[in-house]
Assembly symmetry: C2
Homo-oligomer: 286 residues x 2
Amino acid sequence: MTTNILDRLKSNPSCLSKSERKVAQVILNDPNKAIRSSIASLAKSADVSEPTVNRFCRSLDCTGFPDFKLKLAQCLATGTPYVNRNVEPNDRVEDYTSKIFEATMSAVSDAKRSIDINALSRTVDALSQARRIGFYGLGASGSVAMDAHHKFFRLNTPCSAYTDALQQRMAAAAAKPGDVVVIISITGRTISLVETARIARESGATVIALTTPHSPLAENCHILLGVDSQENTDIYINMTSRIVYLTILDVLATGVTLKLGPEFQSHLKRIKTVLAEMRFSSSPTD
Amino acid sequence: MTTNILDRLKSNPSCLSKSERKVAQVILNDPNKAIRSSIASLAKSADVSEPTVNRFCRSLDCTGFPDFKLKLAQCLATGTPYVNRNVEPNDRVEDYTSKIFEATMSAVSDAKRSIDINALSRTVDALSQARRIGFYGLGASGSVAMDAHHKFFRLNTPCSAYTDALQQRMAAAAAKPGDVVVIISITGRTISLVETARIARESGATVIALTTPHSPLAENCHILLGVDSQENTDIYINMTSRIVYLTILDVLATGVTLKLGPEFQSHLKRIKTVLAEMRFSSSPTD
DNA sequence: TGTCATATTGTAGTAAAATTACTTAAATTG
DNA sequence: CAATTTAAGTAATTTTACTACAATATGACA
C-alpha cells in the first residue's frame, strides 16, 4: 500500500520547503476542513501563494491539488485518520478503545490488500484433499489453532489442534504423505515450531505456514500464507496479527466448504440442529 | 453513520430520473474512475448534460459535484464498498476472500461505533481489582476464552480459562466475592452458560457477559458488553463476532495494564525476555 | 384528442478554481 | 560578494462547476 498521506505529512520536515511546511501545518490542523477547501482559501490560511500549494501537492506525489484532496479524503475515511497512534499512559477509556479498534481495522485492511491469493488458493486445494489436517500453534497462536480446529472439524476430514510443543513434535513425526500441517506463528522464529515444520516435511506432509514472511518458518514450508506485521507499532502486533490469522482461516474454511460442494451443506445443517437443542432457542454456534 | 453512497446508488431506481440513472450506471461501472473525472467528462460518458450530473449529485444529498466525488471517494476508501455481500457457491477465491475480509472490517467498525464505553470502563475497573479472573466460553467462544486467558495471565491477577461446561459449573460454584467471571457467548442462549452465570452470581462473583444484547445471558449478568450481531448476514455471524470479542478483550487487557501503572511495565518486559530465548532472534509472542 | 401544467433535460453564459508560464526574491556556494 | 541555484509569488490561461433560462417531454383532465 502506498504510504498514507497523513503520515507522510506528519513526518516530513525534509522534502518540503519552508512555505510548503506552512501548508502542511494548516492541513494537519484540520484535515477535514482541508478536503473541502479550494486551493485559494487554503493558500490564504497558510499565508502562501496558490502555486505554492500546488507544488506542495506535487512533492507528495499527487498530480495536483484535486488529486491531493482526494487522497487525503480517502485516508481520512479509512477510519484511521492518524493511523498507528500508540496507546499512551494517560489515555481515557474511549481513547485507547478507538486506537485499538482502528489498529485492528487497519491491520485487516492491509492484510486484505497484501494477501497472496495464489497461496490461498493452493492452500484451499491442499486442505480439501487432505487425508487429515493438523493445526499447530503456541502461545497466542495456540488459541488460533484451536479456533481453526473448531471450524474445520465440522468438515469431514479428520482434524486436530496441537498447542503443546511436545505433542506437536510427535504429531509431526507421525504425519504421513497426504496429511496437511498448518503451522501458525506470529514471529515465525519459535525454535520448536521451526523444528516441527522440518520434521513434518520429512514425514511427507504438506506444510503450510501462517506467519511473517522471510522468517525461518516461512522459509521452511511448502505454502506460505504471509502476513506482514505492521512496521512501527510494536504494541499492536500481537493483537492484530492474531485477528488477521483468524480471518485468513475463515477464508480457508469457506473455501474448503465451497469446494466440498452443495451435497455437503446438509451435513452442516445436521450439526446446527444438534447444537440448537442446547439452547433456549434458535441460531449459530456460541 | 450516514448510509453509504454506493449502496444508495445501487438500490435507488426511485428518487432518480431516467438521465440521472444513466449517470448512476456510469459511476457504478467504474467508481474509481468517477472520482477522478470532471463533471464534463462524466456527463459525456453518461451521454447527458453537465447540469444533469449536478442535479444527480443534489438528489443524493450532496452540495454539488465535488462534494459528491469526495463522499464517493471516502466510501470507496472504507474498504467496504459493497458491504455485506454473502459468499456464493460460484465465487472464485479472490471473491470470497474479499467478502470475508470486508465483512470482518465492517463488523469491527460497527462494534467500534456501538460499544458501550461506560460498560467497558466498569469492566476495566472490576478486572483490575479482581481477586481472580475466569474466562468462560464453549465452542468457538472457547478459543476466545483461551486467548483472553493468555493475555491476562501475564498480569499479576490469578486467571483461568474454562472451556468445558462441567468445569465451568464447578468453577462458578467455587467462586467468591471479589472474583470476576467473564462469560463469552455469541448467542447468549446456551443453557449451561446461562446456568453458570446464575451460579456465579449466587457465589458472589461479579459476572461480566460478552454476548448479544437482550439474550438470556445478557439479562443475567452484572455488566453487559453487548455486541449486536450483524442483521442480515447469517453466515458471517460466527466469524465476525468472535473477532469483535477478541478486540474487546484486547481493549480490556490494555485498560487493565494502563491501570496497573508504569511500575508494572518491567514485569511485562521480563516475560518478553524469557520468551525471546525460545527464538532464533528478537520480538513478541508468537 | 387537444391544451395546460408539471417535470425533466439541455444550452449558454458566468464565476470560481486550478494550473501554467514567467518574474522576482532568497539562499547557497565558490 | 558576484553567480548560480532554489524557492516563492504574479498574472494570465485553461479548466471546472454552477446558474439562469429555454426547450422538450410527460402526463392529467376537459
